[in-house]
Symmetry: C2
Subunit: 143 residues, 2 copies
């Protein structure tokens, strides 16, 4: 019996697309002095000012170590500031600086909109809706 070749699976297509996406995003992020991944962190903080590192860890499905170091570097570069939580001295809360807020705006307007435009170029409205529905199902399957 013939197996489906790896190269012809949905999973493989998704991994190729992810890589292409990251490459596109890198170019756009570099102009903002950001590295890949940092944009998601900033967006998450923007959605919830004063979020704790632990909450960020959960929201982003990333290890606590990674969050600690990304926050450390983003603070050093002036995008956010840390503050130890009064109620629970173990926790650290993070807030965007003005520079951080502007970065999030730029990311939304330039990066995501550009990326989306390229991604679904020459798709009809119906196809876009359909694709979104199917991908949401995929995401549910995996989480």
């Amino acid at each position: 019996m013939n197996k489906t070749p790896v190269m012809d699976t949905v999973s493989y297509l998704l991994s190729r697309i992810a890589k292409a996406h990251r490459n596109k995003a890198n170019a756009l992020l570099a102009s903002l002095d950001l590295h890949a991944g940092q944009e998601l962190l900033l967006q998450q903080i923007c959605k919830q000012e004063g979020v704790t590192l632990n909450e960020l860890t959960c929201d982003m499905c990333v290890s606590a170590v990674t969050v600690t170091r990304m926050v450390e570097r983003l603070e050093k570069n002036g995008f956010l500031k840390k503050e130890r939580c009064m109620a629970d001295q173990r926790s650290v809360r993070v807030y965007l600086t003005e520079k951080g807020k502007q970065a999030v705006e730029s990311i939304t307007e330039k990066m995501w909109e550009e990326l989306e435009k390229e991604t679904v170029a020459n798709f009809s409205i119906e196809e876009r809706i359909l694709l979104k529905r199917l991908l949401m199902q995929v995401l549910r399957n995996l989480t």
Copy 2:
């Protein structure tokens, strides 16, 4: 006018799916003593024994530096061996060892098949074909 929120774009869904995929894959790869990304490299070499580093760089859309170091580590761990090309002394050709070949087999059988099964769980045949068609179009748009 209302903009589409970032969280509701195809691009964002794809980035979330990519992360979920990577997390799933990591668990399966760890059992083979491999790290994320190495499986793609080994597969590529399996498809073309004696491929040069430069060709791998192109095939995988990854920088030459990354290929050099991944090959270096995989050689150290006994998955492949390097050999300087006779015809062009600049080039380096890589070949899978027996261990490397077995790893590729395991990856194909365990990792990709498992991943695919989970990814398109509870999709009808028609939906799978449709999703694949749409994703191939997305990939073309991005490359």
